[in-house]
């Protein structure tokens, strides 16, 4: 299964949004176009559109994440839907209720969409397989597998700065092994026709056979950054040192830290991205993070528009509640 079977309906419309893998190019582009139309809304004084009026969105977060949850909540509210946040860490599953029992109970509340974050890879797929036909599932990050809305907002940011994807060389630097963001970025970049996608890191942080995802592998940062248009640097989790994957933050910074000096190897107009939160002095130099080529803060703003686009597209084929009442 390449993700297409469960994500798309018979007309090729989005039913769920679980992964960027296998999605057709025109659909990926339509998400970016739709996000573009919402960017105008956000910048207006009245920041809402009535697309999801009468709908109920449940943010189901099994893993804490203030930032991602907040942008989903804002996106849902700007689409005029009702939003319910469920912090599952303090909820029923910790009392022994199974995930499936919990879903059944929530579905009984007539919700239209689950936005799911979970520590296990495949959790969003599992939930999508078990909800009723009229409920959409959006993956807000599952284990190491996928974080497709984050990847789409990164694509949106890249397109705003760079235009077409074909001529672009993109380097993703760091802990690819544990990164759901990197996996989703790789599939999205390839799906949108990016010229070349590179991954850069030590072998302990690159998953086996990663080149089969459609990337070129570099272990030397100076080779990996040469002539690229986009540099995406990933957050390095402190626990990687405990798992014997790296000797120290210092050695990592020496070998893979994004510095002004190294950035000079990239194209003169290259942009620098980071999915956040940043470890300054570990994966990126402060001067770069705050520098003119950094688009890190734009990424956060664009997140709301992209999530509005995906949420509205997942529900657009399903008839509004008003029609159902009539």
């Amino acid at each position: 299964m390449n993700g297409r079977d469960i994500q798309l309906d018979e007309h090729g419309r989005l039913r769920h949004f679980l992964t960027t893998e296998g999605l057709p190019r025109d659909l990926l582009e339509r998400i970016l176009d739709t996000a573009g139309s919402f960017t105008g809304v956000i910048e207006k004084s009245i920041k809402t559109v009535p697309l999801l009026r009468g709908r109920t969105v449940i943010n189901l977060f099994f893993e804490a994440s203030t930032r991602t949850r907040t942008t989903f909540e804002l996106a849902a509210k700007r689409l005029s839907s009702d939003v319910l946040n469920i912090d599952v860490a303090t909820s029923a599953t910790s009392k022994g209720e199974s995930l499936l029992d919990m879903l059944r109970n929530l579905e009984a509340m007539q919700c239209d969409m689950f936005v799911v974050r979970h520590a296990e890879s495949g959790a969003a797929h599992f939930i999508a397989e078990h909800v009723g036909d009229d409920v959409a599932v959006i993956n807000a990050g599952d284990g190491r597998h996928a974080h497709p809305t984050q990847a789409m907002l990164d694509m949106y940011t890249i397109r705003r700065h760079k235009g077409a994807f074909e001529p672009l060389r993109v380097a993703i630097v760091g802990d690819i092994l544990h990164s759901r963001v990197a996996r989703s970025q790789i599939h999205a970049l390839n799906g949108l026709g990016a010229g070349e996608v590179r991954v850069v890191g030590p072998r302990t942080l690159l998953p086996r056979d990663v080149e089969r995802l459609g990337v070129h592998v570099y272990h030397d940062i100076t080779e990996g950054l040469r002539d690229v248009d986009v540099v995406i640097t990933l957050r390095l989790q402190r626990e990687r040192m405990r798992g014997a994957l790296l000797p120290s933050e210092q050695e990592y910074y020496q070998l893979y830290g994004i510095t002004e000096e190294r950035l000079a190897l990239a194209k003169p107009d290259a942009i620098v991205m980071h999915p956040g939160p940043i470890n300054r002095g570990v994966e990126i130099e402060s001067a770069v993070a705050d520098g003119e080529r950094s688009v890190i803060l734009n990424q956060v703003t664009n997140g709301i528009a992209v999530r509005m686009a995906i949420m509205s597209m997942c529900l657009e084929g399903r008839g509004t509640p008003a029609e159902e009442d009539a």
Partner: protein
């Protein structure tokens, strides 16, 4: 002469004796008493018409979890031994990884009592290699084997401490006890649920490298050289693992090996889409591993194929891939898949039968897996061309957890005899 049975006109395939021809088979007093011509004064109380059917030794399965004691919500001994009989398996080597573990004669007697009550296939219990299968202290393996355990096993929980493993092998060797080991290095498998390859990379699931198997094999083989213990490697998963066992055998080490039947049909690709039913340990590996394992089965390097039967309740698999419990329910499919290996031209029919009868019996030195006169009359009559679909309705095991649901299979048991007594008959 009691319980005398004539099995008439079937194609007798007894690989241990090199027999493959249409013949009559004579059974009395629970034993095979003749082939072709009736023994003097033979009067059958029952005649089974086996025309157009195969008559083969009852299957011997080296690895099955029966879940009792401790997990009767998943399966129980009585039920699973009947399912085995329906699948043509007359000898079931039961894993010691129950709760409590089969590391004392008390638990062993409980298990044996349940098997007696079943009145179905034969239970051949495996004792725990270490107390509680915790890998720290030796179990009372001499007492366990005297009380009926056919071998001792790590129960799929590999011993990490090499000193303990060495002592366990030395102690077992003292009494000529066969040791069954699952070659998996515990440090290289922790936190993982699938083969470390590109599917795991796509799905973002921590992978188990082939080196988890080969490092454990290397350690065990070095200790076999040191101790002379007789070791059977349970459930190989990789091409390199099979090659290491082949080399050790050429060098004359007293080792043997089996593979789980599902490893010969499924690969990591079947996990795509987070298929919890394909969560098994050791994991489904790559296509090149699968074809190497098939070659090793064909050439006899791997002389046994087991069901690796691990029945579960539905809740155990109703979870995201990593959180699901590992294992496939395999008793129902062992025979039909062995026949399929032959249908796919991997090996001649007698060899396919040997891998599930005389091969596993030989690995543990069991008096089973043959139709030789004098042997226990454990046999099955099989309709080799009967098609059927694997569904929750056609499965006899209580565990319906198999990714093969919906497969069309060929070859169905018509009758199973154990000690000359019919323990299963298909209506």
């Amino acid at each position: 002469m009691s319980g005398s049975t004539l099995i008439r006109g079937g194609r007798i395939v007894d690989p241990a004796e090199g027999v493959d021809r249409i013949a009559d088979l004579y059974v009395a007093d629970g034993r095979i008493i003749g082939l072709d011509t009736p023994p003097d004064g033979f009067q059958p109380q029952e005649t089974i018409d086996a025309a157009g059917k195969l008559v083969i030794p009852g299957l011997v399965d080296l690895a099955a979890h029966l879940r009792e004691p401790g997990a009767k919500h998943k399966a129980d001994i009585v039920h699973e031994l009947h399912a085995a009989a329906a699948g043509g398996i007359t000898t079931v080597c039961a894993s010691p990884a129950t709760q409590p573990v089969i590391d004392s004669t008390a638990v062993l007697e409980l298990v044996q009592g349940q098997a007696e009550k079943a009145g179905a296939s034969r239970l051949a219990p495996l004792g725990a290699l270490t107390a509680g299968l915790e890998g720290e202290h030796l179990s009372q393996m001499a007492a366990l084997t005297r009380a009926g355990c056919v071998a001792v096993s790590d129960g799929g929980r590999p011993v990490g401490n090499r000193l303990v493993l060495r002592r366990a092998l030395e102690y077992a060797a003292t009494y000529g006890i066969t040791v069954m080991l699952t070659p998996q290095d515990p440090d290289l498998t922790s936190g993982s649920a699938m083969h470390e390859g590109w599917v795991a990379t796509r799905l973002g699931i921590a992978g188990i490298p082939v080196a988890a198997e080969t490092t454990a094999l290397a350690v065990a083989l070095a200790l076999v050289e040191e101790t002379g213990a007789r070791v059977h490697f349970n459930r190989l998963s990789s091409a390199r693992g099979a090659a290491m066992v082949a080399r050790a055998r050429r060098e004359g080490l007293p080792v043997s090996a089996d593979v789980a039947m599902h490893q010969l049909f499924l690969t990591e690709m079947d996990v795509s889409g987070f298929a919890s039913l394909c969560n098994v340990m050791p994991p489904l590996r790559g296509e090149s591993d699968r074809s190497a394992l098939r070659r090793a089965v064909a050439d006899g390097t791997i002389e046994a194929v087991c069901s690796d039967h691990q029945p579960h309740d539905t809740d155990a698999k109703a979870a995201p891939f990593v959180a699901a419990e590992p294992g496939i329910s395999g008793l129902d499919t062992l025979l039909a898949l062995a026949l399929r290996l032959h249908d796919e031209n991997l090996l001649p029919l007698p060899d396919a039968i040997a891998r599930v009868t005389s091969g596993p019996a030989g690995a543990l030195g069991l008096a089973a897996g043959t139709l030789r006169p004098g042997a226990p009359a454990d046999l099955c009559v099989v309709d080799p061309s009967a098609p059927w679909w694997l569904t929750t309705e056609t499965m006899n095991s209580r565990g319906h957890n198999t990714p093969m649901l919906g497969w069309e299979l060929t070859g169905r048991v018509a009758r199973t005899l154990m000690d000359g007594v019919t323990v299963h008959r298909t209506a």
